[in-house]
């Protein structure tokens, strides 16, 4: 943080030399003998028309000063600044209050003795608000800021990962522990139904595509393209939560906007910062998934067969262990490992009078916990800006990234590692006695996972460049025009090669080579006018136009038949199974307006409006209009407010935002598609029905908030309550298949989200000891408020349904009530179907004596938490710093889709040990785990039931870090600024009633498919050691 102060001082000093120093003869009068300095400046501003600029950190404006009744402006300024160590400089219509050069030196010396970031508050925070910045004090909408802290986030791979648990109302769940996997981000609840539920990401003014980072050739997990934004380059992240702040992004802002600002250079000598670290990661608590050994497995299987034989009179033979001498083989131990990650990054920043630069490079070699999984990533960034003329400045920010990701089967693939590691019999091993692979159906129940990994060559390579360049003209005083061109270019290559020995290799070798080029171009033209009127009213107006076009081009070929494993390009393939290419584009044109009014820092009003036209909608529904208004009242600025150590601001806002994400590029168009060929002749088919009535999804949001700061910023409290109504929800609505289509993109209804967000901050020091803490918690409740077409219940998948009054994300399942303890308890209708004592008792909602999905499903819980949040604590004592960061979520439920270990005799699946031991074996033995029964799905896979629905509340220690900075005296002698060594543990512990490994998972970004645990690779526990060097 020190560079900022130093740089600012230098800039101010630099300005000194170019200023004209004409004495100011204008006179000012004052009504009272003494006033707070702040009030004095307001009087001066009102009477003279000058604007007084000062730094609240350097000048205590709450202090009262004595005043003459009347005096010349320069005399008055000199008098009131006497004793503050500051001086007043007149420039244009500004009065700058700055520190003389001598005083700067003193301050710098003082700084060297103390901790860096004590000076954070010395500079007033400039808040990035979208197409501009505003001082924090002028903000009247709900914007949260996260400033990066290199102490705690070194293992985070992507910018949204940084935000986890940091900001009230921003809820983030990782999808898996595989390097490069995606996070699900929701801001203020469920704003949309489709996968467009993600917020908009804007890096230095350029909207970044969060399309997947792969080319779509892989059947497993999609990759997170946001990992191309390197966390170490990030200066701050602002989250625009309410509609008033987000509305300036209009059509894309329904789900919030994440504005990422990267670091920039400051005037001064080149400063170098370098960081290197090494981490070890492993999956904790794998023993929770322990599989039954051979004896227990056979006990269960044969008990199941006995039960079946007794009940049906059949005579299925018992199962025997074909290898009674073999020890139990652990596939989990074989497939998982302790993974090593190396990471390094370095940056150089600095600047001259007219130019600033920041350049950085980073490298990361990230092993996954599954053998063979590794992601390598390299990135560079350059941010440069220069003042060409007094009236013209220019700059460019650009970042490039290269990623090579060796992938292993994940997601819901047939060879997905974790689930299938648990589905081999206790005696199954990867090799036959002759050394060849054991294979599915011949030796094994399931795929040989070792074979899957050894006989594949699967990687994703991606190349990403994004950035922007701008020219800024100062036309007349207060009027500036900025034109900028931004671009986001991504090229991804999926190489999926299976050798002839691989189970997916078609016995002759198979290669899918898929490529994707994604380009996004955006042109912004922004005109800004700022004016400070004599009466104390200042206003600024921003007018703008923006045009964006995204295009995607894809190509994929699958070839098969290769001379040997050494050949892995499709040019040598014997034949081609599939060749596809794609080309698509969408465009968005926007007109922007924002105006901010500020009366003496007390009353704030911001109006904004945006009109967007999108190519995804038919011309008659093309444009959407998104206005907003927000107002703030800084009560502590009022004359009646006596307590100078307390600040209080009240805010209220209303606005509308839109959404067009998550629907196809040509969603409104009914199309006849090519490629439906027969006998090698061209054919077309009417495959896309379109929907010309499709219109913008819009959210109307109200927000009331309060910012309170106590004891001169020692404690801060921010509270917001909001209500967000999203209307005309875009959704691929399920339709009866007899219409020819199983879904139709439609506007289907509306959702209401209501919430309360509380953020608390504390900063206390005692002698050398300092504590800073940040706590946030958000309560969000959503419910579906209407469904068009009067649908009663709209089932969205096997687990979820939509119903007016219910939460989006609600589970719609058959409810398990317990276990029938005796045959007499079983209703006759079910007894006839084979249900007996020991089987699950389901709730028969319509009381017809039978259980079926259509009539007996009910709403039984929700994937949405009641509240979520985070708590970060930093303790510092001399060179030592300790940070502990906790995140929590309460009240969300998770459906465990993996049933392999829970079938207990239905099929030959090995049993989960804990489940097998807890099974029902006679009256009173269990009311939660059913009996073992062969050939019957009643207890396992017949229904989606609450047997698999679990409480997934948790408290996680996301990170614990301990650092030591070497004393500055030693550093100075070595010619260095600072050296910090640190130890960090991520995911150190997890407290949760969830019975599987990780309650924090998701398999889809789609809001209607939340809360499914398909047992993808869980988040690892990571221990890291590293150092940061600055000079």
């Amino acid at each position: 943080m020190r560079p900022y102060l130093t740089a600012t001082l230098c800039i101010l000093a630099g300005m000194l030399s170019v200023l004209s120093l004409d004495a100011q003869e204008q006179t000012v009068t004052f009504p009272r003998e003494s006033m707070k300095l702040r009030k004095v400046f307001e009087h001066i501003e009102a009477q003279s028309g000058y604007t007084v600029a000062y730094n609240e950190g350097l000048l205590n404006v709450e202090e009262k000063v004595s005043l003459p009744e009347k005096g010349s402006l320069d005399a008055v300024m000199a008098s009131i600044l006497d004793g503050t160590g500051m001086q007043a400089i007149f420039q244009g219509r500004m009065i700058l209050i700055i520190m003389p050069v001598d005083a700067q030196k003193d301050l710098l010396d003082k700084m060297a003795k103390e901790e860096d970031d004590q000076f954070v508050n010395l500079l007033e925070e400039a808040i990035v608000v979208g197409y501009g910045t505003m001082p924090r004090r002028e903000i009247s909408s709900a914007i949260s800021t996260y400033r990066t802290d290199e102490r705690v986030e070194m293992t985070t791979q992507s910018p949204e990962g940084l935000l986890q648990g940091r900001i009230a109302g921003v809820y983030i769940t990782g999808s898996s522990g595989t390097p490069g996997s995606r996070n699900r981000v929701s801001i203020r609840g469920i704003g949309s139904l489709t996968a467009g539920n993600e917020p908009l990401y804007v890096v230095d003014g350029v909207p970044i595509s969060n399309t997947t980072g792969d080319a779509g050739g892989w059947g497993g997990e999609a990759l997170n393209s946001l990992t191309d934004i390197h966390p170490d380059d990030i200066e701050s992240i602002q989250v625009l939560k309410d509609a008033a702040s987000a509305a300036i992004y209009g059509s894309r802002a329904t789900n919030g906007v994440v504005l990422i600002t990267t670091k920039s250079g400051q005037k001064g000598r080149p400063r170098v910062s370098a960081d290197a670290s090494m981490s070890l990661a492993y999956i904790p608590s794998l023993d929770k998934l322990a599989v039954a050994d051979a004896d227990l497995y056979l006990e269960v299987q044969n008990e199941a067969i006995d039960n079946y034989n007794r009940q049906t009179g059949a005579s299925v033979a018992h199962m025997v262990n074909p290898y009674p001498d073999r020890e139990q083989f652990s596939w989990v131990d074989l497939m998982f490992r302790t993974a090593v990650t190396w990471k390094a990054n370095a940056s150089i920043s600095g600047g001259s009078d007219k130019s600033r630069y920041y350049i950085s490079a980073n490298a990361r070699q990230n092993e996954g916990v599954v053998i063979g999984n590794r992601m390598d990533k390299f990135g560079v960034r350059a941010n440069v800006a220069t003042d060409i003329k007094k009236w013209l400045s220019a700059g460019i920010n650009v970042s490039g990234t290269y990623t090579h990701n060796n992938r292993v089967p994940d997601g819901n693939m047939g060879t997905s590692i974790l689930t299938h590691s648990l589905e081999h019999r206790p005696w199954d091993t990867p090799f036959r006695p002759d050394g060849s692979y054991t294979i599915k159906d011949v030796d094994l129940l399931h795929y040989n996972l070792l074979q899957a990994i050894r006989e594949q060559k699967v990687y994703n390579r991606s190349y990403r460049m994004y950035g922007s360049g701008f020219l800024q003209f100062s036309i007349i005083d207060g009027l500036t025009f900025k034109t900028s061109v931004g671009g986001d270019f991504m090229y991804a290559e999926d190489h999926i090669y299976y050798s002839a020995k691989h189970m997916y290799g078609n016995s002759i070798g198979k290669l899918t080579d898929a490529r994707k080029a994604y380009t996004s171009i955006i042109v912004d033209n922004i005109l800004t006018y700022k004016h400070h009127a004599k009466c104390g009213l200042s206003f600024d107006v921003m007018l703008g136009h923006s045009f964006q076009k995204d295009a995607s081009s894809t190509a994929s070929q699958t070839g098969q038949g290769f001379p040997s494993e050494d050949f892995d390009v499709n040019s040598v393939a014997a034949e081609y199974l599939d060749v596809t290419t794609g080309l698509s584009s969408w465009a968005l044109q926007s007109f922007l307006l924002r105006s901010t009014l500020n009366y003496r820092g007390k009353y704030l009003l911001t109006l904004s409006a945006r009109a967007d036209g999108s190519s995804k909608f038919a011309p008659e529904h093309r444009y959407g209009f998104f206005p907003s208004v927000s107002a703030g009242w800084k009560i502590s600025e009022e004359d009646f407010w006596k307590d100078g150590r307390t600040d209080l601001k009240l805010r209220a806002s209303y606005g509308t935002t839109g959404n067009q994400g998550g629907i196809g590029s040509y969603a409104y168009q009914a199309l006849a598609n090519g490629g439906y060929n027969y006998l090698n002749e061209n054919g077309i088919a009417l495959m896309t029905q379109g929907n010309r009535d499709l219109k913008w999804e819009k959210a109307h949001q109200y927000d009331i908030g309060m910012d309170l700061s106590l004891f001169s910023n020692s404690f801060k409290v921010t509270v917001d309550i909001f209500q967000k109504d999203t209307k005309d929800l875009l959704y691929n609505k399920p339709t009866s298949a007899t219409t020819g289509f199983t879904m139709k993109t439609s506007n289907i209804g509306s959702i209401r989200n209501r919430g309360l967000e509380i953020t608390l901050g504390g900063d206390l020091s005692y002698s050398d000891f300092r504590w800073t803490g940040d706590f946030n918690i958000a309560f969000v409740k959503n419910r579906l408020t209407s469904l068009t077409d009067d649908d009663d219940i709209l089932t969205t998948d096997d687990y979820h349904a939509l119903k007016v009054g219910e939460e989006v994300g609600s589970f719609y399942l058959i409810k398990m009530l317990g276990i029938y303890q005796t045959d007499e308890e079983v209703p006759e209708t079910l007894y006839k179907e084979g249900v007996r004592a020991g089987d699950i008792r389901y709730e028969d909602v319509n009381r017809d004596g039978r259980i079926d999905t259509v009539n007996d499903s009910q709403f039984v819980g929700s994937a949405n938490p009641l509240f979520t949040g985070g708590f970060s604590n930093t303790f510092k004592w001399r060179g030592l710093d300790l940070n502990i960061f906790l995140t929590f979520s309460y009240g969300n439920q998770l459906y465990q889709t993996w049933t392999g270990g829970l079938r207990l005799g239905n099929g030959q699946w090995p049993a989960q040990r804990s489940e097998a031991l807890a099974r029902w074996t006679g009256p009173g033995t269990s009311n939660t785990v059913p009996r073992a029964i062969y050939g019957m799905m009643w207890n396992s896979t017949l229904f989606k039931t609450t047997r698999y629905l679990h409480d997934a509340s948790y408290l996680r220690c996301r990170s614990l870090s301990l650092g030591y900075s070497l004393p500055s005296g030693i550093m100075k002698k070595a010619g260095l600024e600072s050296l910090r060594v640190y130890l960090q543990a991520d995911n150190l512990f997890l407290i949760s009633p969830y019975r599987y490994i990780d309650p924090e998972v998701n398999t889809s970004l789609d809001a209607t498919r939340m809360g499914l645990d398909c047992m993808w690779t869980p988040q690892p526990r990571t221990f890291s050691l590293g150092m940061t060097l600055k000079f």
Partner: protein
């Protein structure tokens, strides 16, 4: 200098505000707007219809009568090692084996209906008739499959978007007949097994009559095919291994890059030289049903590393096998069944002799029907006949020990939820897929 700034600003603003609107019209590159499709595109649309008709029902759609016909089980870890368990597992209102064919047949039906309505706008010409013949043939083929599975079903011929209720089974069969009659009327004569022909339409009509119990009409049409010089019985080695033959009446080409339905992958094992995912395999009874002299045996079933497999489709994961829809041998069997013991026995024994089997001499009609059905089982194994043969002759429950409800497929649960006019078949009403 300031002037320069103002001028530049002005120009940029003008450019920005002006020329962007037209860029908001974005169109795909692999498609044209639906409403631009006219009868000029008839040939393209017809090719599209073949493609759609071939792949939309998916494997589950075309293979269903084998999967639940009691000659197949599931290998591997599933433990579904008797036909009874397989059927109980597979047939339920929310199982994909029920839902994917329903979705597929109706999705294809939408295309066929749109196609027919566009073709009907064509000026009269021989081409138009040929196009229409293809449309009505596929509509007949699809509804035959839909009615045989679900009995009372929505019959959709236009592009109804509102909910459509069910047509009773008997009327639905009449609709199939009327479609196939149109197909017979409009279609061109046989030129190639991969194209729809008048003969193919007749053969399918014969199959439909048999399903309806209109035996004489079925036999008469079958005889027309048997006596047609374009067709003759052929060895399995040629039919099922890509040889030239005159037995195939209509077969989907099923090319690998044209939406292939890969039967072989479901039946072959990973141990085969061409791979396979081995989802279904023959029961031991099915393996043993072919007598030693039966020339069909080796092509019908095989053993790969101790695993029993269906062998009619041999390309494994990698290749392409045709989708056999109608063969002449079926006409022999329809003729036999249609005529009954008196007239039909000769046709039955003719076929048996060709396949290397001795003649049979059933004592009565019942025994004769048993003999015909057994012959259908051997001849048409793996080609999608068995379940419906057992069901339409009332033998399914006795043969499998399964409840009556398995003689009809349940309407998918999803459809019942989305279309309030649909009623679940009474046998499935609120029933679950358990023992019965």
């Amino acid at each position: 200098m300031k002037k320069t700034g103002i001028i530049i600003t002005g120009i940029v603003l003008l450019l920005a505000a002006g020329g962007c609107d037209r860029y908001l019209n974005q169109y795909p590159h692999n498609a044209v707007p639906d409403d631009q499709v006219t009868y000029e595109h008839a040939q393209l649309l017809m090719n599209g219809i073949y493609n759609i008709a071939q792949y939309k029902p998916t494997f589950n759609g075309w293979a269903l009568f084998d999967i639940i016909g009691s000659d197949l089980i599931r290998p591997g870890a599933s433990g579904v090692n008797t036909p009874k368990l397989l059927v109980e597992m597979a047939i339920a209102p929310n199982q994909s084996i029920v839902t994917s064919p329903w979705n597929g047949f109706y999705a294809g039906m939408y295309q066929i209906n749109r196609y027919i309505s566009i073709i009907e706008g064509l000026p009269e010409s021989p081409d138009k008739n040929e196009y229409l013949g293809v449309g009505h043939f596929f509509r007949g083929l699809y509804y035959y499959n839909i009615v045989a599975r679900w009995r009372d079903v929505p019959i959709i011929t236009g592009n109804e978007t509102e909910e459509v209720g069910q047509t009773p089974e008997a009327q639905a069969w009449e609709f199939v007949v009327s479609e196939l009659r149109k197909a017979v009327e409009y279609s061109a004569d046989f030129t190639h097994k991969n194209l729809v022909s008048r003969q193919a339409a007749k053969a399918l009509l014969a199959r439909t009559y048999l399903a309806m119990g209109r035996k004489a009409e079925a036999a008469a049409l079958a005889e027309e095919l048997i006596t047609d010089p374009d067709f003759a019985l052929a060895d399995f080695e040629t039919i099922f291994r890509g040889g030239e033959n005159k037995e195939e009446i209509f077969t989907f080409a099923n090319l690998i890059h044209e939406g292939r339905v890969n039967m072989s992958s479901y039946y072959y094992t990973k141990e085969s030289p061409v791979g396979g995912s081995y989802t279904f395999c023959p029961t031991q009874e099915a393996m043993d049903m072919f007598g030693p002299s039966d020339k069909r045996k080796d092509i019908s079933v095989d053993v790969q590393s101790n695993n029993n497999v269906v062998n009619k489709y041999c390309s494994g994961d990698a290749g392409q096998d045709p989708l056999y829809m109608i063969r002449l041998a079926e006409m022999y069997l329809i003729s036999a069944e249609g005529q009954g013991l008196q007239g039909g026995l000769d046709r039955l024994n003719e076929l048996r002799k060709f396949r290397g089997l001795p003649a049979v001499s059933p004592a009565d009609e019942e025994e004769f029907l048993d003999a015909v059905l057994e012959e259908r089982r051997l001849e048409l194994f793996g080609e999608g006949f068995r379940w419906f043969d057992l069901v339409r002759t009332g033998r399914y429950e006795r043969k499998t020990g399964l409840g009556t409800k398995y003689t009809v497929l349940p309407i998918p649960a999803r459809e019942l939820t989305l279309n309030k006019k649909l009623k679940q078949h009474p046998l499935w009403d609120a029933a679950s897929a358990m023992y019965q």
